[in-house]
Symmetry: C2
Subunit: 183 residues, 2 copies
C-alpha cells in the first residue's frame, strides 16, 4: 500500500471514533446549535451529510472511475439528502450509522484500489476531469471540513456563556463575521 | 452537580481522547502544516498551547477567584510559552502530557467548585470583571477553538492533493481568505 493510500485511509478510519468521542452522550445543550446563525447545520445535520457521502459519493465515484474512467460522469452529490432521511434518528444513532458505513467503505476501498489506480481519471459533473488520488484526498479533507463545522456549532451553543472572553475566541467571532480576528 | 458544571466537564474530559484519536500515530504528512500559511500553528503548537492552559491558566484562575475574588487580577496568559518549552517532545508525547494534566485539573475542579461558586467574580487583566461560570465556559470553548485549528492545519497539509475540489472545501479556502465561501 502506498504512503498516500495508507495515510489517507488512516485519517478516514479515525473519523467515526472521533465523532463518538466528541458526541455520544454529550448533553443536548452542546449539540442543538448550528455552525453559523443563518442556514447553518447542527452536529446532527453534519453527521447526516457525512452519511450521504458514504452512501452515494466516495466509493460510488471510486467505482465509477475504475469502471468507466471519464466516459460516464459522476452522479451529482445531494448536499441536503439528510434533511428528510434522518428526522427520526437520534444524534447517537446517526454517529453509529456513519461508523458502520465508513467501516464498510474502507473495506471496499482496500479491495478496489491499488497504487497503480491513483492516476486514473473520472469526470466530475461540474469540475471536469479529476483523478482518483484527488477523490481520495478530498474524501479525507471533507471529513476535516465538516467535523470543524461540528466544533463551530458546539462553540456557538455556549456563545452567551463565555462573557467578555468572546473577544478572544475566533471560533465564536467567525460565526458572525468570517473575517473577524480575535483580539 | 449542576447541569452547567456537568456539561462543561463532560466536554473538557473528551478533549484528550479526541486528540489521541485524531493524532497518535498519524503519518507526519498530515501533521506538519500550520492552520494558516503565515504565522500559523502546527498541531504540535496547538497541543503545546493547550498544555500551557492546563499548567498556568484555567485552574490557577479558578483558585484565584475562589481565594481573592476581584482583589487580585489573574496572571497574564503566555500564548507562546510552548515555543521554547516543547521543542524536544514528539507530538504523541505532547498529547499524552496534555491528557495527564487535563485529568488532574478536572479532579481539582471537582474538589474546588460547586454550583454556588459559579457567580463568583474575578479580575481579568485586560477584560475586567468576569465570573467563574464564564471562565469554565471559556475553558471548554477554547478547546473547541484550538482543536478546530488542528483540523485546519491537517486539511492544509493536503491542499495540493485535492485538485479542483478545493473550490468546494471551505476549510482550505479560508486558510488563504477568511471570508471565502465554497462554490
Amino acid at each position: 500500500m502506498s504512503v498516500f493510500i495508507g495515510g489517507t485511509t488512516s485519517l478516514l478510519a479515525r473519523t467515526p471514533e472521533l465523532l463518538r468521542t466528541l458526541l455520544i452522550g454529550l448533553p443536548e445543550g452542546w449539540t442543538d446549535t448550528t455552525d453559523v446563525p443563518a442556514n447553518g447545520w447542527r452536529p446532527r445535520d453534519v453527521v447526516g451529510h457525512l452519511i450521504t457521502g458514504e452512501l452515494t459519493d466516495w466509493i460510488e465515484r471510486t467505482q465509477r472511475i475504475l469502471e468507466h474512467g471519464t466516459a460516464v460522469p459522476f452522479d451529482k452529490f445531494d448536499r441536503f439528502a439528510h434533511a428528510d432521511r434522518d428526522t427520526d434518528a437520534t444524534l447517537d444513532e446517526l454517529v453509529e450509522h456513519f461508523a458502520r458505513l465508513r467501516a464498510e467503505n474502507l473495506a471496499r476501498l482496500a479491495d478496489l484500489v491499488t497504487d497503480g489506480d491513483l492516476d486514473r481519471r473520472g469526470m466530475h459533473p461540474s469540475l471536469g476531469e479529476v483523478t482518483l488520488r484527488e477523490l481520495l484526498a478530498t474524501w479525507a479533507v471533507h471529513d476535516l471540513d465538516h467535523v470543524s463545522q461540528i466544533f463551530a456549532g458546539m462553540a456557538g451553543s455556549h456563545d452567551a456563556e463565555v462573557g467578555p472572553w468572546k473577544a478572544y475566541l475566533g471560533i465564536l467571532l467567525r460565526r458572525e463575521d468570517p473575517s473577524a480576528t480575535p483580539g
